[in-house]
Amino acid sequence: MASVTYDSIWKKFGDVVALQDFNIKVEDKEFLVLVGPSGCGKTTALRCLAGLEEPTSGSIMIEDKVVNDIAPKDRDIAMVFQSYALYPHMTVFDNMAFGLKLRHFPKDKIKTRVNEAARIMGIEELLKRKPRELSGGQRQRVAVGRAIVREPKVFLFDEPLSNLDAKLRVQMRTEISKIHNRLATTFIYVTHDQTEAMTMATRIAVMNKGVLLQLDTPQELYDNPKNQFVAGFIGSPAMNFFNGHIRMHENTMFFNSGKFWLKIPPKRREALANLMNKEAVFGIRPENIYNPQFAPQNVLTETVEAKVEVTELMGNEIFLYMKTDGTNFVARVDPRTHFEIGDTAKVAFNMDLFHIFAPSLDPDNPVAIF
């Protein structure tokens, strides 16, 4: 059990900057998920902690000890690899026992530990098999089991579920969460799948291009993304964005996309004052767009006209893929909605739950005004 601290970590591969001034403090027993698109530096961050990469500058601490110059084996960590890295010529038992054998554990202790880990992972009957005789899900369990055996202070997971099919992935997700609760150890988990991040993490670190964009609880990330990248990355279907300007007209503030005008509620005017007549991005999540017929009561809405391009019936809801003024967006509406493809339909935007991002303040990374 231990906390992990990244203190101003930079990692460069030649001219490529993989990590830029990366700072995180992972609390003891926390389940931290590093999430971001491929090449965002999340795996590099993990590998630096494991000791498989050396940071260019900055220090990494486990508990209060700087581990930069400590060999990987002495950092008391265990890692589950994306490819599982199960030795094909060894049985499951030998795979799980390998690390303990290298540490000269007595035989009976190895046996007890492996059996205990196998019991936790439900793979007791597979111990004599070779990895090639196992299914993907079973291999995954063995890989996690091999990490458990070591009883490390910190568990590292590098996209462990990406080789599994969708159904198994959902199942393993809950299993890994259960193991985290059971072992009560620090978990650091890398994934590019925001659903995995949202469902498992106590806190999520969203990264892009080697920069940590936001570190927060899943709910906080979802409700209050700090910038447009985080807003677009977290949530599925993703948040819709409309480019436009903030305008004032007859003492009322509007977001003007060019085609449509959305009246901004008076209570949010102040925050937007310095964006007046400037470029802005309006963001709204698909579930906050309604079929006006079924819009919730007591919610301030604005109506937008758009063309229905595709409808997807999900059973409990319908995804409407719509287009207005050259911008595509998705609405999650009531399943009783009957819009035909090609129709021009009116949908209601919830004007209490929207976000404004200001590209004019930071063109590379539009920040959220609210």
Partner: protein
């Protein structure tokens, strides 16, 4: 419900005939496809083998009449010290041509895999592989010069103060065979290194990373991961180099021609001398058959291990 067993007798019979016909046709077509390759193989491999076995049962000078001698030629091979000596020489060469290049190749390959990526690795690989590209005859001549009394090897020895051990390496009764062996190492090391280092690049780096996190050192990684995962390629290297050793001819012929005395005579060379200079085709054939059996006996277990590794 009717199961296939309940079909009326006549119907079953007609079905069976139909199926047999189809099977026959498929077999025939299959053989037709194989035939061209089979013809080549028969002409250049099977027929010569059978002819060699046939000749080995006769006394024959290659042109005149053949005299039936039964197993006498085989008995002679085991009775004439010079001939049995070539077989023991061949097995000595296995050490030099096979075990050393494969072991050394493993070490060189894993060092290159660890250290030399990029341009250095490519240059090192080319240099190590170069002997494979040079014609063996040329290599034999070059090494003949290097190892001669005034050659470079002795010059270097004298330069570093080891002049006392300098000698005509290929002309020394005790040192000729090891010297030929060194030439073999030089030639075959490149082959083994390139094959093994290519195989090493296919090993998932996560295996090594995982082992490092588990606390494995270089040697433990080598024994627990590299060796078992290269079993198949090591088998291929062993097969090729063992065959090279047992059937060695060109290097030996050019470097020493079997001398001094019979110190470096190997079966391949002896077969050539017997058949073409001494005109004992029968005896040469018997030695060839024995060599073939030996090669098969040595290679089969390696191949079997290989097949298990490939599973």
């Amino acid at each position: 419900m009717m199961t296939p067993n309940d079909y009326p007798a006549a119907f079953t019979t007609s079905r069976r005939i139909y199926r047999n016909k189809r099977v026959l046709r498929e077999t025939l077509v299959g053989w037709l496809f194989v035939l061209p390759a089979l013809l080549m193989y028969a002409t250049f491999v099977l027929v010569p083998i059978l002819l060699t076995i046939h000749y080995s049962l006769y006394r024959w000078n290659g042109v005149g009449p053949m005299t039936w001698v039964g197993m006498q030629n085989y008995v002679s091979v085991f009775q004439i010290p010079n001939l049995i000596g070539t077989i023991s020489n061949a097995f000595w060469l296995v050490v030099w041509f096979s075990f050393i290049p494969v072991s050394l190749g493993l070490i060189v390959a894993s060092v290159m895999h660890r250290v030399g990526t990029g341009r250095f690795g490519a240059i090192a690989q080319t240099v190590v592989f170069l002997p494979q590209v040079i014609a063996l005859v040329a290599a034999g001549i070059i090494w003949g010069w290097l190892l001669a009394l005034p050659g470079l090897v002795n010059q270097i020895l004298r330069l570093v103060g080891l002049g006392a051990i300098s000698r005509a390496w290929l002309g020394d009764f005790n040192w000729a065979l090891p010297s030929v062996g060194v030439i073999g190492i030089w030639v075959l090391l490149g082959f083994c290194t390139v094959l093994l280092s290519t195989a090493m690049t296919k090993i998932d780096p996560a295996f090594y990373e995982s082992a490092r996190l588990d606390g494995a050192n270089w040697l433990q990684e080598f024994i627990a991961i590299t060796l078992p995962l290269l079993r198949y390629e090591i088998g291929v290297c062993l097969t090729v180099t063992v065959v090279n050793a047992l059937a060695a001819f060109d290097i030996v012929y050019v470097a020493t021609a079997g001398g001094p005395g019979n110190a470096t005579a190997v079966p391949g060379l002896q077969i050539y001398i017997l058949a073409f200079t001494q005109r004992s085709v029968g005896l040469a054939s018997a030695l060839a058959v024995i060599l073939m059996v030996l090669v098969i006996l040595v290679i089969l277990p390696i191949q079997r291990l290989n097949r298990e590794a490939a599973l």
